[in-house]
Symmetry: C2
Subunit: 285 residues, 2 copies
């Protein structure tokens, strides 16, 4: 590419924001980092994660072609209120929130003329939080969902898609906010709910860790969960998640009843169905 | 070791039996393999998995110091009936079944004088079945449970423990059959039930594989499940598994109610509890 690389401000230098900054800096973008925590700002500068960093976005936003708000879902609106009057014409603002429907209209209503907000969800992360765990390798091969809004410019959507691909994401997909929240409740939130309930249901009569195999280890890895973020994600997607849980419970009930009735045929049928689906799934990945 | 290595017959050359044969042969034991499938027997010989192999145990058992019955739980009793009169004095017979209480008394009643049956459960395996997927590396660092019976000789228990450690198992533990079945219903069978129900509850409104992250992938890996073996394991441990499922459901209900009531405090408390447990657990491993 011969064109001059753009200027990006990343607001929030946690695992995701920090990883965005790392990845974009390596790609040659000019990257400014913002975080309310002075220690995080110092680390971002020391480690060269950003070209410059500060606790306020004020100096950086007016210079930026792209602004990434890498905060918890509930903080996005407040942050946008702070920076909206500083946005330069033609800027593309994007976010990383794991739920969309609850805030898209409010956010869009705040955007000044000649600016564009592209809602995005990078489907990557780590169990730990904070800049110390930022690592742009988590993006490699991961999925990235964009939920376009009616007024998004084609070029803005393409900018965010390009960033995603450059950072290493593999599948970059477009969904409506409603579709996004529905599928996310199934592929991401439901598994977290199951892992948490599994770990918490341990009666601890035995020293569990001494007896586990790979299955328990795999199923509970994500029970190590950031409680502030995930309670927000769960509550912000309440109806979809409740409906995913109910569908799951129906399938668990089929197994339970088959057990109670010693109905080997039904158990085998359910196992064959699961195996078939999981195998197709391996092929596609 | 200067003593002459012992002769081991492994009956059933699937993933587990095949891996036992591989591991023991590498360790210098004389290994005979038995499988009802002539193709499997041919492969075992061609690939040097066993020193000799046949579809019948008749020629091998009388020569063996150790006999491993690596069949499905329901087949163990029938196999023992076939070979019991061929067992040499002082032989140690062992199994690999994932459930114990349901058959220990029946098995013990069949054992001739001066022979000893040591019940064992190597907690390792693969999603695929058959000798083609045998691989002794799966034992590395895995857990191994022995459920001693009243009349087991100390030396027989030590023989099986030594085999386990030599093959690469890390924790070798002793439990009663009842304890074994209880803990297994929680750490192994419940995760399999959850993975199967999760995959089967997909309404497939979307092309799921395109949207999944690591969490769904990890939680559903074991939904790829051998239906004949696992329906037997589930039904053979029915009461324990049903009780583990019920305890899990109680914990899932806590999350569900918190969601319904938009009770962030309870959600956070449950997430903190799960994280704390899962973290302790990492330390111990």
């Amino acid at each position: 590419m011969t064109e001059k690389k753009q200027v990006v401000t990343v607001i929030g230098l946690g695992v995701i924001g920090g990883s965005y900054a790392m990845a974009l800096k390596k790609l040659g973008y000019t990257v400014y980092g913002v975080d309310c925590d002075p220690d995080t700002v110092a680390k971002a500068k020391e480690r060269g994660i950003a070209d410059d960093a500060a606790t306020s976005a004020e100096a950086f936003v007016p210079l930026s072609d792209i602004v990434v708000i890498a905060l918890y879902p509930k903080q996005v609106e407040g942050e946008l209120r702070k920076i909206r009057d500083l946005l330069k014409e033609g800027v593309v603002v994007t976010d990383v929130a794991g739920i969309k429907s609850h805030f898209t209209q409010k956010i869009l209503a705040l955007m000044p003329a000649n600016t564009d907000f592209v809602f995005a969800h990078p489907m990557a992360g780590r169990e730990k939080k904070g800049i110390d765990y930022a690592d742009d390798r988590v993006f490699k091969g991961a999925n990235f969902i964009i939920t376009p809004s009616e007024n998004n410019k084609k070029s803005s959507l393409e900018t965010v898609e390009r960033l995603a691909r450059e950072m290493g994401f593999k599948n970059v997909m477009r969904l409506t906010p409603e579709q996004h929240d529905k599928i996310i409740s199934f592929v991401s939130q439901l598994p977290h709910a199951l892992a948490v309930a599994l770990v918490n249901s341990d009666d601890r009569q035995f020293d569990t860790p001494r007896f586990v195999g790979d299955s328990y280890r795999d199923l509970t890895r994500i029970a190590n969960i950031n409680e502030s973020l995930w309670s927000e994600l769960f509550l912000g997607n309440k109806d979809n998640l409740l409906s995913s849980i109910r569908e799951f419970e129906k399938c668990l009930d089929v197994l339970k009843e088959a057990l109670e009735n010693e109905d080997k045929e039904t158990l085998e049928r359910e196992f064959v169905r699961a195996t078939k689906r999981r195998t197709e799934f391996n092929k596609e990945l």
